[in-house]
Amino acid sequence: MALNKEQIAHRIARELQDGFYVNLGIGIPTLVANYIPQGVKVVLQSENGLLGMGPFPFEGEENPDLINAGKQTITTVPGSVFFDSAMSFGMIRAGKVDLTVLGAMEVADNGDIANWKIPGKMVKGMGGAMDLVAAAKNIIVAMQHTNPKGESKLLPKCSLPLTGVKCVRKIVSDLGVFDITPDGFRCIEYAPGVTIDEIKAKTAGRLTIADDVKEMVFNA
């Protein structure tokens, strides 16, 4: 069975390493914070100007001056720090953030990503996504493998306006985990019950299957 959103987040959380500074985008990426492995300590960066983001506040303790990049009310953890937006993107640009997790509408087999605009339909803007993908050392995309019509979102070439070029390193979709390699997408894990044939059928871009490909395991 394909992974649900929580499971995608759970799988991505296994990529976190102790001491990482991590920027989590809006949507599924936000859920990654709920699955940080035991013994791993990471510092969450919110690009509106915070290092050390904590969980949502208890009801009645919301602070309108304290929000994350998704405009949600949040809290801080001990050791947190506030700064302005220029410094925030300065640390992103300078490569201080170890990992960025974000969503995508399309990813190409060379690592191009599109996630900010559907011409004539949706004009929301890129927010900080272009800055993040241009600069982050490691970018993992959380996404659905296909659109609601069943068409692949892992493509030979993006059809939508690009957010960044050749920047995605890894994708965790509802069907599996894929590295971006010079030979295109390389499937290294598949979701429990999903077949390689299904992954092949639903991947439009170049695809290889790792020799040691394995089924994903969820203990919790």
């Binding site: 919110s46 690009e47 509106n48 100007g49 915070l50 969980p55 949502f56 506040p57 208890f58 009801e59 009645g60 303790e61 919301e62 602070n63 309108p64 001056d65 304290l66 929000i67 994350n68 998704g70 405009k71 949600q72 009310t73 949040i74 506030f82 700064f83 302005d84 937006s85 220029a86 925030s88 993107f89 300065g90 992103i92 640009r93 191009d112 004009v123 929301k124 803007g125 890129m126 927010g127 900080g128 996504a129 272009m130 800055d131 241009a134 600069a135 306006p161 690009l162 957010t163 960044g164 070029v165």
Partner: protein, 232 residues
Amino acid sequence: MNKVVANAEEAIKDIQSGATLMLGGFGLCGIPENCINALVKKGVDSLTCISNNAGVDDFGIGLLLQQKQVKKMVASYVGENAEFERQLLSGELEVELIPQGTLATRCMAAGYGMPAVYLLAGVGTEVAEGKETRNFNGKDYLLEYAFDSDFAIVKAWKGDTQGNLVFKETARNFNPMMAMAGKITIAEVEELVPAGELDPNQVHTPGIYVHRIFQGTNYEKRIEQRTTRKRS
């Protein structure tokens, strides 16, 4: 030197139609509520607004959009505003969408007296169209110009009569670098104190950048996405 003005109306009294304004804030957090309301009341139009977001339909810059006072919006994300999207798709409103870090850095460049900076964001995308590029250490960068803004309007937590500003939590966001970037900078603060009361070690924006300051009233501080957790 007297920077203190009575209220928002007095602070914005020389802002005319056609002016270019920077407005601080991220989402609805740290926006200059009093000055936005005063601009709505004054009715100036054909404004160019540089701000990360465009407010929501009935709050923040959304109020200026409702009254059709904005000619052009320069922003990075405008997703929460249906009226904005309508005016954009119908061609009534001119919009320049730019990456958030580029927006912040173009403000910063103005405040630091730098005419332009080279930035990586947007290389290979439509943001790069028509822009000069230069290769450093094997990577292409875009030449991005400092903003040129008639006024910057910012919101701080505390300020003193010298114009020194202190911001609170993530309401800091774009406010400090916009404060530095305006030809004339107007600061509204929740608490205005006499010079000497702020700890000079803790000031975020030096008063040299601030031309007018006043203590605002009736802050609504609306929350856009109220998210909470249950007590276990």
